[in-house]
């Protein structure tokens, strides 16, 4: 369902972020990308979300070439991909409820759907009691769970989690991983980037190891090897 075809990204100062990267992801897979900082993991995610254009090569998502999608329809593409980031990226002026509702509004869902789905999805990430709190009033782990709730509320085909546990303590890391696994068990494809050895080793899922913009390993039931 996701296919990277010899994707290369060279930034203006000749630094190579991605170097002829090719791989494909099947529906329902849980795939992790590991590597040092600067290995190209985040660039990979940005490519998939059409935040950045590749210098050469192409990225396919469900048979559409991501970088040939016209500007006006990029929103449509992004609504099929739920995103979770290391820095949570919640809207600080909106409550937990409104943050999630915003994603649903953007997808053109009705008020009735919003009022039934948002509390439900917050319950799912165990935040039913913080529904009207602002992000500033939540802990890091709670904010990340709101972000996950926002990512899954539109029932996307893929969840992209870019270092979702990077700012969290071990307990919150464990909880976030449990939620991601649960989402994957329910049939959603999950793309995870991380450099947390413990997370990778306990997952026992496919691992792609990257180094300096290249894929150096692709293991079916991988471990964190660098």
């Amino acid at each position: 369902m996701i296919y990277f075809d010899r994707v290369t990204k060279v930034y203006a100062d000749d630094s190579v972020a991605l170097d002829e990267v090719s791989f494909s992801v099947e529906p329902g897979e849980f795939i992790s990308f590991v590597g040092h900082s600067g290995a190209g993991k985040t660039t990979l995610v940005k490519m998939l979300l059409a935040e950045e254009k590749p210098s050469s090569g192409s990225v396919f998502f469900e048979s559409m070439n991501v970088h040939e999608v016209p500007q006006a329809r990029i929103g449509e593409l992004r609504r099929k991909i739920g995103t979770v980031f290391q820095d949570f990226r919640l809207l600080p002026q909106k409550t937990a409820f409104e943050n999630i509702a915003f994603a649903m509004e953007a997808a053109g869902r009705s008020e009735a759907e919003i009022h039934s789905d948002v509390p439900h999805v917050l319950e799912l990430v165990d935040l039913g009691d913080k529904i009207h709190n602002f992000p500033g009033e939540l802990s890091g782990g709670e904010q990340q769970r709101v972000a996950i709730a926002r990512a899954i509320v539109n029932q996307p085909d893929v969840i992209v989690a870019d270092e979702p546990t990077g700012n969290l303590d071990p307990v919150n890391t464990f909880e976030v991983m449990q939620i991601l696994k649960k989402i994957n068990d329910l049939g959603t494809t999950v793309l995870l980037t991380t450099h947390n050895k413990g997370v990778i080793d306990s997952l026992r899922k496919r691992v792609i190891t990257m180094d300096r913009g290249k894929i150096v390993r692709d293991d079916k039931e991988g471990k964190y090897i660098l």
């Binding site: 979300l49 935040e51 593409l77 992004r78 990226r89 002026q93 915003f102 953007a106 539109n154």
Partner: protein, 310 residues
């Protein structure tokens, strides 16, 4: 766009306005300042214009007839003057009216009134007051009157005296209008600089307000919101700034023009800014509130555009 979308956009705009209280307050304040300057510019223009008009209006021409001039010939002359394209208005005053006016003007001057009574008969002739369309035309009207007189040879002249703004008066008036004209220009340039500056500052204030939301805009894009759906609440917010600032400015002008009105009425002798403000309130409302709304909407539109390119 559906009704639900419109409702959401307005709700988001109002919520942002409320929750970013301080930023909203600062933006409104800045905009009040801008609109105030625009309002002052309008008033300055009006005062300068009406003052100059006042000077020009004061110029007219009086034709004094002899005491024994017949009414027929006066009327005849009046009609022919009236027919001139340069003449705007002719006002006739009979001998009796001239006397009544004289008595009224000197009602506190017993000596003069006594002298008048002493005479027994009305010493004043009829008067024609002529207003030309432009002050430069009095010369030619005067020549015309003298010419008319010359045509009726054989009979005694009925015109006693013609008083008007001649070359000398006109030069003085021209100099005055030159001064007011250049004052107007300098004033306009200064005001224009003020307006442009404050508009630029307002623009920048809004840009900064939206700059602080750039991360949010980025996140909204990543969540898959359309550009217009992200932009619209910011424009609603900008319009709200403009509306509030406009109303505040209009309220501020009320006491200001009242105070200025009393001062200027005495000084310029022309219109009172206060009554002008009140009688032209719809005009001021449209200009001030309209400028605020347009400024807010355009500034927001341009500022958001910058951060939407994701």
């Amino acid at each position: 766009m559906t009704w639900v979308t419109v409702k959401r956009i307005f709700r988001a705009g109002f919520l942002d306005f409320w929750r970013n209280g301080f930023v909203s307050f600062a933006s409104v304040l800045m905009m009040v300042f801008t609109l105030f300057v625009i309002g002052l510019a309008i008033f300055a223009g009006i005062i300068l214009d009406s003052t100059l008009q006042e000077f020009r209006d004061k110029a007219d021409m009086s034709v004094y007839f002899t005491v024994d001039a017949s009414q027929e010939r006066i009327t005849e002359l009046q009609t022919s003057v009236q027919a001139l394209p340069e003449v705007e208005k002719v006002q006739a005053m009979t001998r009796e009216e001239a006397l009544a006016q004289f008595r009224e003007r000197h009602q506190n001057d017993q000596l003069t009134l006594q002298a008048l009574d002493e005479l027994g008969e009305n010493p004043l002739g009829a008067v024609l007051t002529i207003k030309a369309k432009d002050i430069s035309q009095y010369e030619s009207i005067s020549t015309f009157l003298r010419g008319q007189e010359a045509l009726t040879t054989g009979e005694a002249s009925i015109i006693d005296k013609i008083n008007y703004y001649d070359e000398e008066h006109r030069n003085a008036l021209n100099r005055l209008s030159e001064i007011t004209d250049s004052a107007k220009w300098i004033g306009l340039v200064i005001i224009l600089i003020f307006v442009v500056t404050t508009v630029a500052i307002s623009f920048n204030t809004l840009r900064l307000a939206i700059y602080s939301s750039r991360d949010e805009i980025h996140v909204m894009r990543l969540v898959g919101a359309n550009k217009n759906y992200i932009r619209a609440p910011f424009i609603v917010e900008g319009i709200l700034y403009g509306l509030i600032a406009g109303v505040v400015t209009l309220l501020l002008f009320y006491p200001l023009t009242w105070w200025l009105g009393r001062a200027t009425e005495r000084f310029f002798g022309g219109i009172s800014v206060f009554s002008y403000y009140l009688s032209n309130f719809p005009f001021f409302f449209v200009i001030i509130v309209g400028s605020g709304v347009i400024l807010g909407a355009v500034a927001s539109f341009l500022a958001v555009r910058r951060y939407l390119q994701v």
